[in-house]
């Protein structure tokens, strides 16, 4: 029997299908109940090796889908932030806290109205990185929260800057002391203009109130130039928040 992979299904395939994802909530009656979510745009996140082992007629729920959102997309592409923009110049993005849907190969084939291979190799790698990194993120310690909030606010002020199109993510590290010192790193696409990104970070640095912290280190590099150590040891900034959902960052222990 043909496998899903043989039929062109890949990790990163975007598909349109009206599916209902379920979550559990406690409603007004203080009774747990199912909270259904109807959604029409999804992406396959199951890896290609698994798709290559699944018969298209299998009816066991073994393919993982994530809902793809279009409203209020993030400005940066995102490596570790709570949202991952799938492609530059397009509104599609994933949310870390969104529901997942498991579907059988047979159901996938039957329910899909339309599909396309949206992601090129670079963005597919970004998706894999994001899926892997979402669950190993550091949290900002309480003492740095006002500074983290100020950095997020400063970033927000530049969210419409087209230079951010070439930025996969902005990462920061803090050094405690009388004055908190901040290192800012931007991970950029190969096509990005690094000098422009550096200047943008320098501008953002000057928007951060000096009494909260001062940026004394700015570096910009492609994924080939930024070490895994930086990825693992830094706080992630995106244009809307720093590692938190909601209006503002909060302390890790609150």
């Amino acid at each position: 029997l043909p496998k899903l992979y043989d039929r062109g299904w890949r990790q990163g395939t975007l598909l349109r299908a009206e599916l209902e994802a379920h979550g559990w909530v406690v409603g007004d009656g203080d009774q747990p109940r199912v909270d259904p979510l109807q959604h029409g745009l999804w992406i396959v996140v199951t890896q290609d090796c698994d798709l290559n082992s699944l018969d298209e007629a299998d009816d066991v729920t073994s393919v993982e889908l994530r809902p793809v959102f279009e409203e209020n997309p993030p400005q940066t592409l995102g490596i570790r932030s709570r949202m991952l923009k799938l492609m530059p110049g397009m509104p599609y993005y994933l949310q870390a806290q969104s529901r997942r849907e498991m579907i059988s190969p047979a159901g996938l084939v039957k329910l899909t109205k339309d599909r396309e291979k949206l992601l090129d190799d670079v963005r597919l790698t970004a998706l894999k990185t994001w899926l892997g990194k979402r669950y190993d993120r550091p949290a900002v310690p309480d003492g740095f929260v006002p500074l983290a909030k100020a950095i997020a606010t400063a970033m927000k002020g530049h969210r419409h800057d087209r230079i951010l199109d070439g930025v996969r993510d902005v990462l920061v590290q803090f050094a405690d002391g009388d004055t908190i010192r901040v290192s800012m790193f931007a991970v950029v696409t190969d096509e990005a203009n690094k000098d422009e990104v550096e200047r943008l970070l320098a501008e953002i640095a000057q928007d951060i109130p000096a009494e909260l912290g001062i940026v004394d280190d700015i570096a910009v590099g492609t994924s080939a130039e930024v070490s895994l150590k930086v990825i693992e040891d830094s706080f992630a900034v995106d244009a809307t928040d720093i590692t938190w959902r909601g209006e503002a960052p909060r302390g890790a222990l609150q």
Binding site: A139, P141, R181, I214, E225, S227, D233
Partner: protein, 167 residues
């Protein structure tokens, strides 16, 4: 006078209920008192003369002296000098702090041409972002390696996993 807005010039209509002109709005942070404080702080942090600061922000030293007294200069050479003063202040106040509030180290960081134009060179060209980059790189030279590794790893207390970091 040049910044005064006269609506009738653009709309070709007169409104009897409005003044025929609008004076330029004063921007926050550009009031004489703020300007005086910024000039005072910059001169103290760098040891510069009023003439040097005037060169950096593209105006004349009488203008800088007027600001020190809390006045706007009546006929400044460069009408953009208040914005440039603020940009210069934002950079120099940070570099002064990073340099341990040492005037000598601050000046060295601002005038260092070891990697190309200095921060002062860029300020003179009205390129504050390049000036900031030049100054912080003088104080904390980037490593020669192409690989960016960072130097401020998180403490173990700073690490946690989902869902802690989302709450």
């Amino acid at each position: 006078v040049q910044q005064t807005y006269i609506p009738a010039l653009s709309t070709r209509q007169l409104n009897a209920y409005e003044l025929p002109y609008e004076l330029p709005k004063a921007e926050a942070g550009s009031l004489p008192a703020d300007a005086a404080r910024m000039v005072t702080d910059v001169l103290a942090a760098t040891g510069w003369s009023a003439r040097t600061l005037a060169d950096v922000i593209g105006t004349t030293h009488p203008t800088v002296r007027a600001l020190l007294r809390g006045h706007f200069a009546a006929m400044p050479r460069n009408r953009d000098y208040q914005r440039r003063l603020k940009a210069t202040y934002e950079i120099i106040s940070r570099i002064f702090t990073l340099a341990g509030r040492d005037v000598g180290r601050t000046n060295t960081a601002l005038r260092d041409q070891g990697r190309g134009p200095s921060a002062v060179d860029y300020l003179v060209q009205d390129r504050p972002n390049d000036a900031y980059l030049a100054a912080i790189r003088s104080l904390r030279p980037p490593p020669q390696d192409r690989l960016i590794i960072g130097s401020r790893p998180l403490s173990p207390q700073g690490r946690t996993t989902d869902p802690f970091d989302d709450e």
